[in-house]
């Protein structure tokens, strides 16, 4: 290592090239991955995949996964895992749908109740992890099974034996504030864009896309907020510190406990939001909702540059990681490639991302 006062070393240290700064961004891997995947589909897929309607088509599942991945990413940066967020989608879906269908609770109250229940379970996860000192991996693995099981039991109770609960759309007919969680945004804008000839129209004169699905709006807004918090607020610094070295952070006056509890609750709330959006989208909920989504969310976060050991990563990375996912999942239908290659891709991408992240981390920290 260089030492201060050494003239030669100082000269060398004065400027950092743009490239070197780029190399230090945690999102680098995700950007590279996105470029590769886009290039691949540009070559092999039907070109309609990349017109506006096609883009919205693959951004919608990306957004549903992405909201979940944001929660997972922040939690991972804070040094913990939550494997129960996939099952949480089913459980929160049960709470939400039965509140509306069985108990006839108004939409806003049902949303509030769902978030409250999910938040409490997130808190319980966090409390158990903090209290027992067990790895969060194990504690939340237990909740992965318990929440899935509770969803099944609860659905059978709510429907009298079925594992699917229908009738949400009918029960909510005419509800105010429904537009916050389902349907499309900026419809007026798209009508006028169509009139101006900015976007393609059907022969009937109706624009081909009538708006942006609300989950994409949620996804983008949440990514912006998470990025702002991580990079520009003391809380962000505490999240990085808690994940980097909880002991050092504690000794420097960072409220590590509360930071981690907050992150568990946030991850659970993200899962609940996904549940609410998907239940309203399909008008029903079933016990298999969110199956294995916790792994996809973690993979998206890892592709986005989050280290499994914590203390490093980014929300923008998780955003890009989720977009890659959506692109591959939907993109394969635009090709002649068998859909089931998707799973192979998933595993391969994870492996490449982890190897890549390791190299990057070594560069960042200068460890050898």
């Amino acid at each position: 290592m260089n030492s201060p006062g050494n003239k030669v070393a100082d000269d060398r240290l004065k400027h950092v090239s743009f490239f070197a700064q780029l190399m230090r961004r945690p999102e680098l891997g995700a950007v590279a991955g996105l470029v590769l995947v886009t290039a691949f589909f540009l070559i092999v897929a039907d070109p309609v995949m990349f017109n506006l309607a096609g883009v919205i088509n693959f951004l919608t599942p990306a957004a549903q996964l992405g909201i979940l991945a944001l929660g997972a990413a922040l939690l991972m940066i804070g040094g913990e895992f939550d494997l129960s967020i996939g099952s949480m989608i089913a459980f929160a879906g049960l709470v939400f749908a039965s509140a509306i269908v069985v108990f006839k609770i108004p939409l806003i109250l049902a949303v509030f109740l769902t978030l409250l229940v999910a938040g409490l379970i997130g808190f319980l996860n966090a409390w158990l992890v903090q209290r027992t000192g067990l790895p969060s991996f194990i504690v939340t693995l237990a909740f992965l099974f318990m929440l899935r099981g509770l969803s099944l039991v609860g659905l059978k109770w709510a429907t009298g034996g079925s594992t699917q609960l229908r009738g949400v759309t009918e029960a909510l007919e005419g509800s105010a504030s429904l537009g916050l969680f389902t349907g499309k945004a900026f419809e007026g804008l798209f009508v006028s864009l169509g009139e101006q000839g900015w976007i393609p129209k059907f022969p009937t004169g109706e624009p081909m896309i009538t708006g942006i699905p609300v989950e994409i709006i949620w996804f983008v807004v949440l990514t912006c907020i998470a990025t702002w918090v991580l990079l520009r607020t003391p809380l962000g610094n505490w999240i990085f510190a808690s994940g980097g070295d909880a002991n050092a952070a504690k000794n420097s006056g960072v409220p590590v406990r509360n930071v981690k509890i907050g992150l568990f609750v946030f991850a659970a709330l993200c899962a609940a939001l996904v549940a609410i959006i998907t239940v309203l989208d399909s008008g029903s909920t079933d016990a298999r909702r969110g199956f294995q989504k916790e792994f996809e969310a973690i993979i998206a976060a890892v592709i986005g540059g989050c280290l499994l050991t914590g203390g490093y990563g980014s929300a923008v990375g998780a955003f890009l990681g989720s977009v890659i996912f959506g692109m591959v999942m939907i993109g394969l239908t635009y090709t002649r490639i068998d859909q089931d290659w998707y799973l192979v891709f998933l595993g391969g991408m994870l492996l490449v991302a982890v190897l890549f992240n390791n190299i990057i981390r070594k560069r960042v920290t200068g460890e050898r």
Partner: protein, 262 residues
């Protein structure tokens, strides 16, 4: 520093028992402003226990502690810090993956704005970090540099600069040179000298006599939980210090065969 005769911190007959083990049996120690007081002792002499009582981690079983002449009882490291006593432990409380600035202000981030727009004043934080590191004689490439890219000596200096910036009047350094190479050690010793000249009282814990003699104004040797005495600079030689640390017996024999190399 002859103008102020009241020590910044004075420990009188400190005792510390853990169950039936007597870790400290009557240690007295003081540090003045602008002075570097070296605490020497071999492994197991009680150095760590002693600095932990001074930094508020352990409460002493007996004895009194005075800060600027007033008796205090410290119940936590936080209280010690509020009294101007900062400790740089060997693990440094630093996170390699985070930037120097983020480490420097960890837990004490400067903010501006209000309400939901309250955010970290990164520009200010970066410039403070650059200035403070410069004052310690370390030229950072840039404040966003990860701490992991710094050498052990530089990290030590960041930790010292951080403690001083946040108002430490007394700085306790726990073996800051123990794992460092020659040049890095020289840097850390130079930093200790700078901090001392700013009027901070430095307590330098080490078992290396030469490092102690390089910057120390006074030397206190701890052996088996007791102070063996305090000497001023120039009153004692390296050999005498070495002998005191080893209890004065075994090393005398060893010295012959090692030719004065330890």
């Amino acid at each position: 520093m002859e103008f102020n005769k009241t020590p910044l911190v004075e420990m009188r007959n400190i005792e510390k028992h853990f169950g039936n083990i007597i870790a400290l049996s009557g240690v007295s120690f003081s540090v003045m402003a602008g002075e570097c007081h070296c605490l020497l002792g071999d492994n197991g002499a009680g150095k760590s226990t002693f600095i932990k009582t001074m930094s508020g981690v352990h409460a002493p079983s007996a004895g009194t502690m005075l800060v600027s002449g007033k008796e205090v009882v410290l119940n936590s490291p936080r209280e010690a810090m509020n009294n101007g006593i900062a400790t740089v432990f060997q693990d440094l409380a630093m996170i390699p993956l985070m930037s120097v600035t983020r480490n420097f202000f960890m837990g004490r981030e400067p903010t501006k704005g209000w309400g939901p727009f309250k955010h970290m004043d990164i520009k200010h934080a970066n410039s403070v970090t650059m200035t403070e590191m410069h004052r310690m004689g370390i030229k950072l490439r840039e404040p966003e540099q990860a701490v992991g890219t710094l050498s052990g000596g530089e990290r030590q200096c960041v930790a010292i600069a951080r403690a001083v910036f946040f108002g430490a009047k007394v700085l306790i350094l726990d073996e800051p040179t123990s794992a460092l190479g020659v040049r890095q050690t020289a840097n850390v010793l130079a930093t200790i000298d700078r901090v001392r000249k700013m009027g901070v009282g430095v307590i330098f814990i080490t078992h290396n006599v030469r490092h102690a003699l390089a910057v120390g104004d006074r030397f206190t040797v701890l052996n088996r939980g007791k102070t063996l005495g305090t000497a001023r600079k120039g009153e004692i030689t390296a050999e005498q210090l070495q002998d005191l640390m080893a209890g004065g017996q075994e090393l005398a024999k060893l010295e012959g065969s090692l030719g004065g190399t330890v």
